[in-house]
Amino acid sequence: MCEIAGTADELLASRARGGCRDCFSLLYERYRMSLARYLHESFVYDFDTALDLEAESWKRAFQHISSFAGERPFKAWLLAITRNLALNHLRHVRRSPPPETLVRAFPSNPAADPIERREAIEECVRVVRALPEELREPFVLRAIFDLEIREVAEILDISPTTARGRLFRARRALVQAVREARP
């Protein structure tokens, strides 16, 4: 293995493009669970599906690593792939919903959700999950990946001004929800 621990994502991706599988493995280790959690919080409500989509995202990233030009951060590139897959998945599910999807919003039974089982999920996570999709996604991206507004906008395919506005609306809605939840 080459000396790669602590190397910047973009350099690792560039080496991976040149055929270094260890570099790709390290990127995978860095972002695997964050990606799964992003999918789980933003798009799909059962963690197994989130893991399937996450695995598919890595497969696509591996297949198309040659197209990563290094003009933007690797995580933004990876998130764009992941988001496209998630949206395709949702479109497919909405087109032909299996019976369980029709009744599923966020799981009402914590035992059905491994994240909830493991973490005894807090009110703050529930409140974020209850946000409308267009407000939830930028908020989750900022919280999990610390992305810049410009990067959030690029991933969501919106302008930075819109991204800023959605984050503001998300914050107002969250504060409002927390106030209402308090006795």
């Binding site: 055929g19 599988r21 790709f24 493995s25 995978y28 280790e29 695997r32 669970m33 964050s34 799964a36 959690r37 919080e41 695995a55 890595w58 497969k59 591996f62 297949q63 690593i65 994240i115 493991r118 973490e119 807090e122 703050c124 996570v125 409140v127 974020v128 989750v140 900022r142 919280a143 999990i144 507004i149 800023r164 984050l167 503001f168 914050r171 107002r172 969250l174 504060v175 927390v178 106030r179």
Partner: protein, 170 residues
């Protein structure tokens, strides 16, 4: 400055790691509603971030990562095929009668034929034209093992370096 404008500016300052303007600061110091918004936002985001990240760390510990790109259907079919070809070739080679034992008579050198030797086949000749990176370990350019190559072509072209006994008859 109204409350909405002040809160918007505060939100923007969170996203861009910049201090809000002095106008907004003044507003926050005098407006309870906006002061409460600011405190609640900061506390909530901190709690959410901590919660999600500790969850990610926990998941990492539970499921140790290992990167194994999925094999495509083609590679899953080709690997057994390649193995079958190797096994069949080995079987054919085994059934051939053993060559006669060389005598101790003086050897003769066999003259190499004028016809050029048939080039050796590739192990995955024509099969993996559009190989993906996930199959790179198959080494497309790899030649067939020599004995398999001879079996497939059935040529038996004598090797000029092989020295046979003078009295050997076929």
């Amino acid at each position: 400055m109204n409350c909405r404008r002040a809160q918007s500016e505060f939100s923007r300052s969170l996203d861009e790691s910049a201090a809000p303007s002095s106008d907004a600061d003044r507003h926050f110091s005098t407006c309870d509603e906006c002061g409460s918004f600011r405190d609640a936002t900061v506390a909530f985001e901190g709690r959410y971030r901590t919660r999600v990240r500790s969850g990610i760390d926990r998941l990492r510990r539970i499921e140790p990562p290992s990167f194994k790109p999925r094999q495509s259907l083609r590679s899953r079919l080709l690997l057994p095929l390649a193995a079958a070809v190797l096994v069949c070739g080995w079987g054919l080679t085994k059934e051939k009668p053993a060559p006669p034992a060389p005598s101790t008579a003086a050897p003769i050198a066999i003259v190499p034929p004028s016809k050029p030797r048939t080039p050796r086949s590739l192990l995955f000749d024509g099969v993996l034209e559009t190989i993906g990176p996930e199959l790179s370990f198959l080494r497309v350019g790899e030649l067939l093992p020599l004995r398999l190559d001879q079996e497939f072509h059935g040529i038996g072209v004598p090797d000029p370096e092989i020295v046979l006994p003078r009295d050997l008859r076929f």
